[in-house]
């Protein structure tokens, strides 16, 4: 009989990850953070405030979406609560020309790149399998639900960047690719193949792992007996482990590796240690597999509270936070109002875009359905 996996391993105790802000919001870089510190120099005061706005608005949006699901307005919700710093820091580290391949929980990154978060809800309301046009929203590709599949798409895309002649040496135009995945995805073959290919072809790419400790009900200790960041060395990739609840660490490490990748330095791996405060999805009940004290520990490391303390220590006025809270509430109210207005698409759209060029089967079945439904209408008249 296999040994049972122990409950979540707090890998933050195994090594000091890159961290700038301690849990009380004090600027106290760890030794590992020093090499990334220069990345923070280019951040303006406005940038630092924007990070907070990004996190707070998406936190409020996430709560609203959870309510909408409980009220029957969404089939499912995928909470991002607790992972805002990992997402906002990395998302803001990408340049406009970069391409981002999300998994399905990166709502904060989606918003940063210009996705109307209503489009995320349209998917979870059962109205679309896509929702946006990547080229119109900062090259933010579609969510991918099969675990790890997007890592290969990201690697292929990054191979294409290389085949197109990158790098030119100008970081304002040279592109990089940022791909998100979780601790569960590290066990998938696709994810491992993606890293093999990326290092083989030296793609301009950053693999951003949000290790939120749980793959639905299975702890990361079942996925790996070694810190996941250590796996990168086996692929031949530099790797950095960060405190994923520190938005500055997430920004600096991701920025550093993206800039290195876009300049021709090859792929890199970032492991963000974070925690899924909520359920995997609204179909899940984490009290069945997680201890209350573990949750309490991670709640004490809340990324939003930590960053707010930091900004307050830096002298940011209370009116800023009040203003962001109001903006977040307005955003959530607007999302609610627009969600309730969303009706189903016309039924025959299921036949559209099955192929990009005409194929007789969907054409015939669309016509058949139209006649079939018309038959009911005639019967009523």
């Amino acid at each position: 009989m296999a040994k049972s996996a122990s409950s979540t391993v707090d890998t933050t105790t195994l090594a000091e990850p890159v961290r700038f802000l301690d849990p009380d919001g004090r600027f106290a870089p760890t030794p590992a953070a020093e090499r990334f510190a220069s990345m923070l120099d280019e951040l303006t005061e406005a940038d630092r405030l924007e990070f907070y706005r990004d996190m707070a608005v998406v936190r409020r949006f996430d709560i609203e979406a959870g309510h909408l699901q409980r009220q029957g307005q969404l089939g499912l919700w995928v909470p991002s609560h607790g992972q805002e710093a990992a997402q906002v820091g990395s998302g803001r580290a990408a340049r406009a020309q970069d391409t981002i391949f999300p998994s399905y929980r990166e709502h904060a990154v989606a918003r940063i790149r210009g996705v109307d978060l209503l489009d995320v809800l349209r998917m979870l309301r059962g109205l679309t399998h896509g929702g946006w046009t990547p080229a119109e929203v900062g090259n933010f590709r579609l969510y991918t639900l099969v675990i790890g599949s997007q890592t290969l798409h990201a690697t292929g895309y990054a191979m294409g960047v290389g085949l197109d002649g990158a790098p030119t040496g100008d970081p304002s135009i040279d592109e990089a690719v940022l791909v998100y995945f979780g601790d569960g995805a590290t066990s998938q073959g696709d994810t491992n193949e993606a890293m093999i290919w990326a290092t083989s072809y030296q793609t301009p790419q950053v693999f951003f792992l949000q290790n939120n400790q749980w793959a639905i009900s299975v702890p990361v200790s079942r996925q790996s007996r070694t810190p996941l960041v250590d796996r990168a060395a086996g692929f031949g990739m530099p790797a950095t482990q960060i405190d994923g609840n520190d938005v500055l660490a997430s920004y600096a490490a991701t920025r550093y590796h993206l800039e290195h990748a876009r300049s021709g330095g090859g792929p890199a791996f970032v492991e963000a240690l974070t925690y899924r405060i909520g359920a995997h999805t609204t179909s899940d009940d984490p009290t069945r597999y997680r201890a209350a004290d573990e949750l309490a520990l991670w709640e004490s490391r809340d990324p939003l509270i930590r960053y707010r303390k930091y900004l307050e220590n830096e002298g940011v006025a209370g009116s800023f936070f009040t203003g962001v809270d109001e903006e977040a509430a307005d955003f959530a109210a607007d999302i609610r109002r627009r969600t309730l207005e969303l009706g189903p698409p016309p039924v025959d759209t299921m036949f559209d875009h099955v192929y990009s060029e005409e194929h007789p089967v969907p054409v015939a079945q669309k016509a058949w359905l139209s006649d079939y439904e018309a038959g009911f209408t005639e019967g009523e008249s």
Binding site: L142, L152, E193
Partner: protein, 327 residues
């Protein structure tokens, strides 16, 4: 290159790939051993020398990686032609083909196309070890979003690979291994048929045999034998398994009243079963007998010394023709 020639199917495919790569520098060839070796069947022979390693990619060994990376390359504007080395090696890529590639056009709702060709050498008669002689086409024909074709002659191979590469949809391109080496006329000036057309390849009066890929030559052989015995068989090359062009087939059945569908694949839940069902629906009153299927047995592909019994041959086709005509 222009003008007619006599080529093997492997050479015709090679020429088709070369001409497609010359015509469009976004066309890439990628797979295991497709570079300096030229592929295990030499279909990509010489392409690496001519176009270089950034157009002909010898990839790491991983089928999911080949198809998954091709998807990303297509998102970047490339037109990848993937080689899966053998039929039975395609399953590690099954998610990337059926859950990703097949659905991505639909998920993008018109904002992206995925012009990817996946070449799959398939079928038996080469005496190979396990997983090297299979016919997995039904899995892919069953999946909306994929197009599935299989040439039976060098001329079709040349034109169909070029047409498949020009298609903006994903195309599963099944190459009958047993037909790689026989030579045939190739007219390099113009295609005989559109990619998804089926075609009458032998006229007859009494029974129609529909076949595709490796079984077309077997059906024609059966028709020769039958003709010597006084039975007139008509043969339709289906060529495209998704979509299926029923026009020539229905016209033939309306004439003969009898249909036998022959394939190397096992018959249970097969493309042959789909053809039998559809012809029954659409030509019911023309049929003088039930549509019969001839295929491999519903067992795992056996060790090679048994394959000549496992796979259908001209005699098994004729046995079915006799049963049909006996109704």
């Amino acid at each position: 290159m222009s003008g007619p020639g006599v080529l093997t199917m492997a050479k015709a495919l090679n020429q088709g790939l070369r001409d497609a790569m010359s015509a469009d520098d976004k066309v890439l060839v990628m797979g295991e051993d497709v570079g300096p070796l030229g592929g295990v069947f030499r279909v990509t022979e010489g392409l690496h020398a001519e176009f270089g390693g950034s157009r002909v990619l010898d990839t790491p060994l991983g089928e999911a990686g080949i198809v998954g990376a091709a998807i990303g390359l297509a998102m970047r504007g490339y037109r990848p032609v993937c080689e899966i080395q053998f039929d039975g090696f395609i399953y590690p890529a099954f998610d990337q083909i059926t859950s990703q590639l097949a659905k991505l056009t639909n998920r993008h709702e018109g904002s992206a196309t995925f012009p990817i060709v996946i070449r799959v050498p398939y079928g038996g008669h080469i005496g190979a070890v396990e997983h090297h002689q299979e016919s997995p086409e039904a899995y892919f024909a069953h999946t909306p979003g994929l197009r599935v074709v299989s040439p039976s002659t060098p001329n079709d191979a040349y034109w169909m690979i070029r047409q498949a590469i020009e298609s903006d949809d994903p195309v599963m391109f099944f190459e009958p291994k047993s037909r790689y080496w026989p030579k045939g006329d190739v007219d390099l000036t113009s295609p005989a048929s559109p990619l998804h057309a089926s075609r009458l390849v032998r006229s007859g009066r009494e029974c129609t045999v529909a076949a595709y890929g490796p079984m077309v030559s077997v059906a024609l052989q059966a028709a020769e034998i039958a003709a010597a015995e006084g039975t007139s068989i008509e043969v339709v090359d289906i060529r495209s398994l998704s979509p299926i062009d029923y026009g020539p087939l229905l016209a033939s059945v309306e004439k003969t009243g009898h249909l036998v569908v022959a394939a190397e694949a096992s018959s249970f839940v097969s493309v042959s079963a789909e053809i039998a069902a559809t012809v029954t629906e659409r030509a019911f009153f023309s049929l003088e007998a039930p549509v019969l299927r001839v295929g491999a047995f519903d067992a795992p592909f056996p060790p090679a010394k048994l394959e000549s019994t496992f796979l259908p041959d001209a005699d098994r086709v004729l046995e079915a023709v006799d049963r049909s005509l006996g109704y």
